[in-house]
């Protein structure tokens, strides 16, 4: 991929990632955020964080399936950092609009309410990943250790999904679609690894025969 294509694609990715925020800001400006504005903001930021996290997790399986799409990896950090950005907005929304910036209320929420605990865990993990997302951090940690650290993204996304299920009313199935998508993305990893090993083995047999 040449430089111009990369730059234009990155610009597009930035715009796409900023679109949900732009939609919210536009909603505030035009007073068009629905009847329960606080809920609209909380839901939109949380959902976007999970969606971006899922998209960032789709890149590895896509590359495995179609090696020609290998260049997608150049967008993974960008998407992951935007997921962290929206998760942070989501957290700020909770702190300011739900807990009224009251430290006692926030602490009580984290300790007493398991959906907040799960959400907080996901966010803390994303902080770690975002803080070590630079080239410098990769060099400093070394590839293997960095990879191991960054597999925490699996814990973060599962915590995010659990947070979603624990937040909705019992019996409500709204988080189901997102759960299925994330489950497929997680299961696809061992499945694709196994499939590739098989393919390689067959190729080796064919060569030696």
């Amino acid at each position: 991929m040449n430089r111009t294509t990369l730059i234009s694609l990155k610009t597009l990715a930035w715009l796409a990632c900023l679109a949900p925020l732009a939609w919210l800001v536009w909603g505030v400006v035009t007073n068009n955020l629905g009847a329960d504005q606080t809920h609209t903001i909380a839901f939109a930021t949380g959902r976007t964080a999970l969606r971006l996290l899922a998209i960032s997790l789709a890149i590895t399986p896509l590359r495995r399936l179609w090696p020609r799409l290998s260049w997608l990896v150049k967008f993974r950090r960008l998407i992951g950092l935007f997921a962290f950005f929206y998760a942070t907005l989501h957290l700020l929304c909770w702190a300011a609009l739900y807990a009224n910036l009251d430290p006692a209320a926030m602490a009580a929420d984290v300790v007493k309410r398991r959906y907040v605990t799960a959400g907080m865990l996901a966010w803390v993990l994303l902080v770690l990943l975002a803080a070590t997302s630079t080239q410098w951090a990769i060099r400093k940690l070394g590839g293997r250790r960095w990879n191991r650290l960054h597999s925490l993204v699996y814990v973060a996304v599962v915590a995010g999904i659990v947070h979603y299920w624990w937040q909705v009313k019992p019996g409500v199935r709204t988080p189901l679609a997102m759960t299925v998508v994330v489950a497929v993305l997680l299961v696809s990893r061992p499945v694709l690894a196994w499939w590739q090993k098989q393919k390689k083995a067959t190729a080796a047999v064919a060569k030696s025969g």
Binding site: A35, D36, Q37, R113, R173, T174
Partner: protein, 326 residues
């Protein structure tokens, strides 16, 4: 009888009655124009096609003022009250009932009163509308999800209807069953694992309390379908889900009836479900609420004990541990 005392609220925030009337007449004018236009085009469908989310025009109701109305609160806009609803039979998202509840057949409609009564009766909805003068009653409406509205309902006390059937002394509870027909609402059944019809209930003394309103209208006209047309109850000191919508059966019982949300999650939704800032929902605090229709930075309000109706209904619970009987 004590009347609800005004909450602390800036006078500038209060919608004056003349503003409300102006708002109502403007709405009527717009509706009239829309209707005339639609008629001229010869099809109701055209109007529906042009603005599919428009709430169908209600019928104006003859009303009288009521001593039991709540004063000092700014009314929630008609649009917010009719487009932000929990009515899971028509979808679990807040905007779905407004889009889907048009399928609810509100005529003909009969209401059965049965169980521990000397005189079981079945009423036609139009007879019920004429049973007693319809009163205008503004009530605060507090959802268990920690949002709230202020709505001008139209109806009369539920006790007026129950008295008609001569309840037996063994009648301890009242159960309300809502309309359900899988042919009408089946499309949204897969969104939750709730077993229909929706059931709610009150203790007999709660049901007979004059504040418990048998409700036929809001904002001076018949209820929009998504708000529980053609008839619902409104119990202003309890979380909103206690106020069953689109009621077809009222059953007086000697045992506590099973109720939908209590069955789904007994740890989250108690039978009483009185509004109580001191008893948290397991998943959020009930100390504050978000007033619908306000900008996000101004939505927060302190939640009042029994939703501000403690003076009137507090005595129903004297000696009861409201933390245990939440």
């Amino acid at each position: 009888m004590l009347i609800g005392k005004p909450a602390d609220i800036a006078s500038a925030e209060i919608t004056s009655l003349s503003d409300y009337r102006k708002f109502m007449s403007r709405r009527k004018l717009l509706k009239g124009a829309a209707l005339a236009g639609a008629a001229a085009l010869g099809a109701e469908r055209v109007a529906e096609f042009l603005s599919p989310q428009t709430v169908r025009a209600g019928t104006k109701l003859q009303t009288v003022p009521s001593q039991l109305t709540t004063t000092g609160e700014q009314l929630t806009s008609y649009t917010d009250a009719t487009t932000y609803n929990n009515y899971y039979e028509f979808g679990v998202d807040k905007d779905q009932p407004a889009k889907n509840a048009g399928r609810l057949p509100t005529r003909p409609w009969t209401v059965k009163i049965e169980g521990k009564v000397a005189k079981p009766l079945t009423f036609d909805i139009d007879a019920l509308l004429k049973l007693r003068p319809l009163e205008d009653r503004v009530y605060r409406h507090r959802c268990v999800e920690a949002w709230s509205m202020v709505i001008p309902w139209v109806g009369y006390s539920l006790s007026e209807l129950i008295k008609q059937c001569n309840p037996l002394s063994t009648a301890m509870y009242v159960q309300f069953l809502s309309y359900f027909d899988a042919k009408v609402e089946g499309a949204w059944m897969s969104q939750s694992s709730i077993s229909w019809p929706y059931s709610e209930g009150l203790r007999m003394d709660e049901a007979m309390h004059p504040l418990t309103l048998l409700t036929f209208g809001m904002y001076g006209e018949t209820l929009a379908n998504q708000n529980g047309a053609p008839m619902r109850v409104v119990v202003p000191w309890k979380y909103g889900f206690k106020s069953a919508k689109s009621i077809v059966t009222i059953r007086l019982t000697d045992k506590m009836p099973s109720t939908t949300w209590n069955d789904m999650a007994p740890g989250e939704y108690g039978f009483y479900s009185n509004v109580n800032p001191n008893v948290d929902h397991p998943r959020w605090s009930q100390k504050t609420e978000r007033r619908i229709g306000q900008p996000f930075y101004a939505q927060h309000k302190a939640t009042l004990m029994l939703n501000g109706y403690a003076d009137q209904v507090g005595s129903l619970y004297s000696g009861m541990d409201l933390k245990r009987n939440f």
